[in-house]
Amino acid sequence: MTASMRAGRMLANVAALPARLIEPAMSRVQKTIGIKRMPWIFLIPNLTAVLLFALLPVFINIFYSVTGSDRLYPVDRPFIGMANYETLLDCRNYLQPSTCSRDLFWRALGNSLVFVPTQVVLMIGISLLTAICLNREIRGRGFFRGVFFFPVMLSPVVVALTWQWILQRNGALNGLLESVGLGGINWLVHADTAFAWAVAVTIWAHMGFYTIILLAGLQAIPRDVYEAAKMDSASHWRVFRRITLPLLLPVLLVVFVLCVIRSVQTFDELYVLTGGGPGSATMLMVQYIYEVGFAAQPRNFGLAAAASLLLGLVLLLFTALQLKFSRSARDG
């Protein structure tokens, strides 16, 4: 707490200069509008930003998705009904992307449908295992906690370039394999290995965040529950199954939802690491939206908006499910 206090005080000192100019102005405002309306003065900047950049865009997005043409300004865009959704969802055989009018959308969707569950399950499994290890009474716990959190600080671009440097054909991994007598593989050029590394690299980059949250959850479990279990000489596995897991469930659910939402939105790391390739093997939904709406010429804002609304719908569904689950977990 003390470090943060000091940091906060320093910030306050830096900010004190313009504050001296604001204070007289603000007290004049208070005199004219009265104390009752002052909370709105405090709220308006934030509300404006929220309305402008979060709530309004949702409605604009809906409008975009039912209009066509490559023009950005809403007045220039003719209404085309559900055509964008029809284009996206039009397939002769839904299991074969090549028979769809928007085959990249289906590839991206298919990739996301494999990527998200795989990543979430592995991420939570590894984070939980790490958190349990860090929760034990061992030497250097603080140090190890920092070790696993470290990559969270790195920017996605740095993460991607670091791993690209290691995974390239003449990279460190192949060098290591060579030295133990195994042949190297061009990891990012083969579809399967590129996808596997896409999962691995994103787990590497983000697991620290979930580990820390799970660790906090573990530390909130009262010690005496474990003491009681020790009295009954319960096995490690039994203690984990019967005590740790049930008591950690609320935190696990939160982590699950955060993880799914982040996973569905994965873009930066893979955009730099593989560029969605080879072919479209690692292209996920967000990259599809980016490609259609911003990278491709002509920009198809309507299609991108329709795709992002479908994505939002899936996320909403997940959040609703989580609420239902956590409520039923709470009610027992």
């Binding site: 865009p57 290591l176 980016y290």
Partner: protein
């Protein structure tokens, strides 16, 4: 009495042994197999988490020739050179195996096919020798070279400071605005009872459910309407009103007693003065957590800058780095130096703030 019992029990414990002393639990309790498994796992984690970044940083100190080596060398090495009389350029040194099985050190003048012309640097007058390349090994020495950094700063020097400036500007300005804006809203929502406060709180928290990528297209439209495409403000403004920040600060401010405000009002302090002089300083722990989150995400932002900042002058470090990769496909020397430079500020911040960041996230992340 209890203390004495504890001491007696402690004495009766079996000695933990050497491995137990190193890997033992806190308080010297004997380590069992689960402890060894734990340490094994954590040490493996240490390698997997740190090795890639360490490898990148070490590689950034290699010469371009050294970077091409396969299998890669662990440390940066350079071929030793020597200046020999009569030659303008320093010549590379080689260890040559002679037919008698001896090894002599020669300097290479030039290579012709499978043979090389060499000269004895100690005795240049002895004339040129023709040596089979297969018998010669370059003399290599570990040397960290900063040439990559120097080259980076000379070839793209002015641009890089531009990118650093842009990244810093966005991070600092966005964080300051975020802190002020969010704490103002949190103050209003925690310390006043007024009609519409629930609606305002709901509106702000509802945005938690809207992922940034879902509203990518309309946010771009609004930024364009405001005339901010290509401007740093176009990246700053959409990100400043973070719902988590408002929520976190509001929860913290709820714990500040209202009597403080009443007392200040008695002294005729204006509402702004109460907010700025009393509430803000008292909320500094929560402000610090929000600041760290803001700094991290603004410095690392990629997607929004990618679509909004369309001209090179307004690129952030992250954008420049990503574009670097496609521009200089083979210039790994510059790319590695640039990557290291980009990761460095946060790595340093992390070393100093590690304990605080992790516990700060732990205490606020689950809410």
């Amino acid at each position: 009495m209890a203390d004495l019992d504890d001491i007696r029990i402690a004495r009766n414990r079996p000695s933990p042994g050497l491995l137990g002393t190193i890997f033992g639990k806190r308080g010297g309790r004997k380590a069992d197999w689960t402890d060894y498994v734990t340490y094994g796992y954590l040490l493996l984690g240490l390698v997997i988490m740190f090795a890639p970044v360490l490898w990148l940083v070490i590689s950034s100190f290699k010469t371009p020739a050294n970077l091409q080596d396969f299998p890669p060398t662990l440390l940066p090495v350079t071929t030793e050179t020597v200046s020999v009389e009569g030659f303008d350029e320093p010549l590379p040194l080689y260890d040559v195996r002679t037919e008698d099985g001896e090894t002599i050190r020669l300097a290479q003048i030039r290579r012709v096919g499978l043979n090389a012309q060499m000269i004895d640097p100690a005795d240049p007058a002895a004339g040129r020798l023709v040596i089979k390349v297969a018998n010669a090994e370059p003399v290599r020495k570990v040397r960290f070279t900063i040439d990559n950094y120097v080259n980076l700063l000379t070839t793209a020097g002015a641009d890089i400071w531009r990118y650093v400036y842009n990244s810093l500007f966005i991070t600092v300005v966005a964080t300051v605005i975020t802190l002020v804006m969010n704490s103002m809203a949190a103050f209003a929502l925690s310390k006043y009872r007024f009609r519409g406060s629930t609606a305002a709180l709901t509106a702000i928290l509802a945005t938690l459910m809207i992922p940034a990528t879902v509203v990518l297209v309309p946010v771009y439209l609004i930024v364009a309407e405001l005339g901010l495409v290509g401007s740093l403000w176009g990246v700053i403004l959409p990100t400043v009103a973070t719902p988590t920040g408002v929520f976190l600060l509001r929860q913290y401010m709820l714990t500040i007693p209202d009597e403080l405000l009443e007392a200040a009002r008695m002294d005729h302090a204006s509402e702004w003065r109460i907010f700025w002089r009393i509430i803000l300083p008292l909320s500094s722990p929560a402000l610090a957590v929000v600041a760290i989150f803001s700094i991290l995400s603004r410095w690392n932002d990629f997607l929004l800058p990618l679509i909004v900042l369309n001209n090179r002058e307004s690129f952030t470090l992250q954008l420049a780095l990503a574009s670097f990769q496609t521009e200089f496909e083979i210039r790994y020397d510059l790319l590695l130096a640039m990557t290291t430079l980009t990761a460095l500020p946060l790595a340093f911040a992390f070393i100093f703030l590690q304990r605080y960041i992790t516990s700060g996230i732990a205490s606020t992340g689950i809410k």
